[in-house]
């Protein structure tokens, strides 16, 4: 298979488009994307001149480039891009995984996901507290039901053990709704802090 330096073939044209559209790729995925383009450049040849490339396209969980008439090598390079980006934080490039924020999906590392998940958790809690207030509910929240991201916002003193006099099992901790209602202003302040952090570009 002879090398092709002709710039106007569909394959070379496709690579050029991918380079031009590189700015639209999230920062964290720029490195695997650049590696893929370098790989495509490296395998460009006369035999692959007809291959069409289209992208970059973003799915919920990865970045991908489609091809028409590609062979195993091109398919392998593009497949690796999909697999790598599915496990790379799209914000910072560290190892990450798919996270769910209500209706939104993003591949993020724990550092970048933390403020988003915390914001989601605290917003849900505030909404539930509002509902509980409206409906006059009083059931306490057990520790196991609490979202992990809320834990740094609720200090140790607010958790009360349900004492099991047998002493065999570790106690279950609960927080009463009245205590949570008292914490609402504080939780609201946390929510605003998290919103400000995200707006300031944390992990974006």
């Amino acid at each position: 298979m002879s090398r092709s330096l002709e710039p106007n073939t569909p394959f070379q044209e496709g690579i050029r488009k991918l380079v031009d559209r590189g700015d639209s790729v999230p920062d964290g995925w720029k490195v695997p994307y650049a590696k893929t383009i370098a790989g495509l450049h490296a395998v460009a040849c006369e035999g692959r001149a007809h291959i069409g490339l289209d992208g970059p396209l973003m799915a919920d969980c990865n970045l991908y480039v489609t091809h028409r008439g590609g062979d195993r090598v091109v398919a392998g390079l593009l497949g690796r891009l999909e697999r790598t980006t599915a496990q790379t934080c799209e914000a910072c490039g560290r190892p990450g995984r798919l996270r769910v924020f209500g209706q939104t999906l993003k591949v993020l590392c724990p550092v970048c996901a933390a403020p988003r998940l915390a914001l989601h958790a605290v917003s849900e809690l505030l909404r539930d507290l509002e509902l509980a207030d409206e409906r006059g509910l009083s059931e306490p929240l057990t520790f196991d039901e609490t979202q992990m991201q809320l834990r740094p916002m609720l200090s140790a003193e607010v958790w009360e053990p349900l004492i099991d006099h047998s002493g065999d099992e570790p106690p279950t901790y609960v927080i009463s709704l009245s205590q949570l209602q008292a914490l609402r202003p504080r939780l609201e302040a946390v929510r605003q802090t998290l919103v400000a952090t995200l707006e300031a570009g944390h992990g974006s």
């Binding site: 995984r97 590392c109 724990p110 550092v111 996901a113 933390a114 403020p115 998940l117 915390a118 520790f143 196991d144 039901e145 609490t146 979202q147 992990m148 991201q149 809320l150 834990r151 740094p152 916002m153 609720l154 200090s155 140790a156 003193e157 958790w159 053990p161 004492i163 099991d164 006099h165 047998s166 002493g167 065999d168 570790p170 106690p171 901790y173 302040a189 946390v190 802090t193 998290l194 952090t197 944390h202």
Partner: protein, 386 residues
């Protein structure tokens, strides 16, 4: 604030522990940036010198995170089954985090209830009250019992009392039967160099969300050395000393941990059989049988406990008649539970929902009379000089 992270139970579907730990650290960093810190706070020393870490009250550092990472690297170099065991334990410690809850003082009402149920343990209850007062003087109220040795006749309720104290403090309780302990490996672990290397019970006791569990050493006076001369009580020399217990090292795990918050309660029948060096490390409290005036309260407490935990309890009336209480008050505390259960069975077979004094007397008559073997420890009988 890290309290929640330390809780052993994780929500179903929660992210893996390392991921969760990083997330929590990041959320804390964001909150700390806007001075979101629970008050009051206590400053503890972190891994880095000259760095004080602001921590919420009732949380203390069990181990240094850097030390844990060192031990994890070391554990990966081990071989065989020991590697698996040691790694599992270290990973669990990492999952629980280095910051753990310490026990806070209980409510005064809980101490009142303890005093009501164990009137014959007034000396210990008074000590508890003094310690609670001391604990409340801390910026973040904490509770730490001195090592207690409860000495008394069999069946006087020493072990039951120790368990109630643990329940009252809402801390995990670990019981060790010292009579069946022949080496200290069980408590302080067996070196990972051995193929059967395992961490000890003290390490296990500290692998919960709470770093101030109560460890009950039952029948301390009956602990005996094995054939190779390993003294099963040898570990007590270091763990009962506040200075050395702050850097307790399990033989299998090798990670220095702060075991100084553990409360030790030992029980024995004859404290004179305990080595003086160990005895001097405990605060000795002699527990006598309840007096005739105290017994009805003890019986009522046993009855409450039985009604709370027996499946058949709902079938019977919730209270015992005064005459039944009096009849049961003539029995040693240990025998009250089985006698009372037999009396309930007797009442049930007679189709009654309440117990009569007759039921107690009938089951007492059927109970075998126990004679002590020999005469050296035989109780003095009426009329004798002994």
């Amino acid at each position: 604030m890290q309290f929640a992270e330390l809780h052993p139970t994780r929500r179903r579907g929660a992210p893996a522990s390392r991921d969760a730990a990083i997330q929590l650290a990041e959320i804390r960093r964001i909150l700390a940036a806007v001075n979101f810190v629970a008050e009051p706070t206590v400053a503890l020393v972190s891994d880095e010198p000259n760095t004080s870490v602001v921590l919420p009250p009732n949380m203390q550092q069990l181990f240094k995170p850097g030390d844990l990472e060192d031990r994890l690297r070391w554990a990966k170099s081990l071989a065989g089954e020991t590697k698996k065991v040691v790694l599992q334990h270290l990973q669990k410690a990492r999952e629980l985090g280095c910051m753990r809850r310490v026990a806070g003082p209980p409510n005064p009402e809980a101490v009142d209830a303890l005093e009501r149920d164990f009137p014959h343990c007034g000396a210990v209850t008074a000590l508890l009250r003094r310690r609670i007062a001391l604990g409340n003087c801390c910026p973040a109220p904490t509770m730490k019992l001195p090592p207690l040795l409860l000495s008394g006749q069999p069946g006087s309720g020493k072990s039951a009392f120790a368990k109630r104290v643990a329940a009252m403090l809402a801390v995990p309780c670990h019981e060790v039967d010292m009579a069946s302990l022949h080496t200290s490996f069980t408590m302080v672990g067996l070196d990972a160099g051995f193929s059967t290397g395992r961490p000890g019970a003290l390490w296990d006791a500290l692998q919960t969300e709470c770093m101030s569990p109560i460890v009950i050493l039952d029948e301390l006076d009956k602990a005996g050395a094995d054939d190779i001369g390993d003294d099963p009580t040898g570990f007590l020399y270091s763990v009962l000393e506040p200075l050395t217990s702050r850097r307790f090292v399990d033989a299998a795990i090798g990670l220095p941990i702060d075991a100084s918050r553990v409360s030790w309660i030992a029980t024995c029948n004859d404290h004179r059989r305990i080595h003086p060096a160990i005895l001097s490390r405990f605060l000795l409290v002699e527990i006598d049988y309840p007096s005739a005036a105290q017994m009805p309260a003890v019986v009522a407490s046993i009855h409450r406990e039985m009604m709370a935990h027996s499946e058949w309890a709902a079938w019977f009336e919730p209270k015992l008649a005064r005459e039944v209480l009096d009849a049961l008050s003539m029995i040693a505390p240990r025998e009250v539970m089985e006698t009372l259960e037999d009396a309930f069975a007797q009442a049930a077979s007679a189709g009654r929902r309440f117990v009569l004094p007759l039921d107690v007397q009938q089951v007492r008559r059927r109970a075998p009379v126990r004679h002590p073997i020999g005469f050296c420890n035989a109780p003095a009988t009426e009329g004798s000089e002994g």
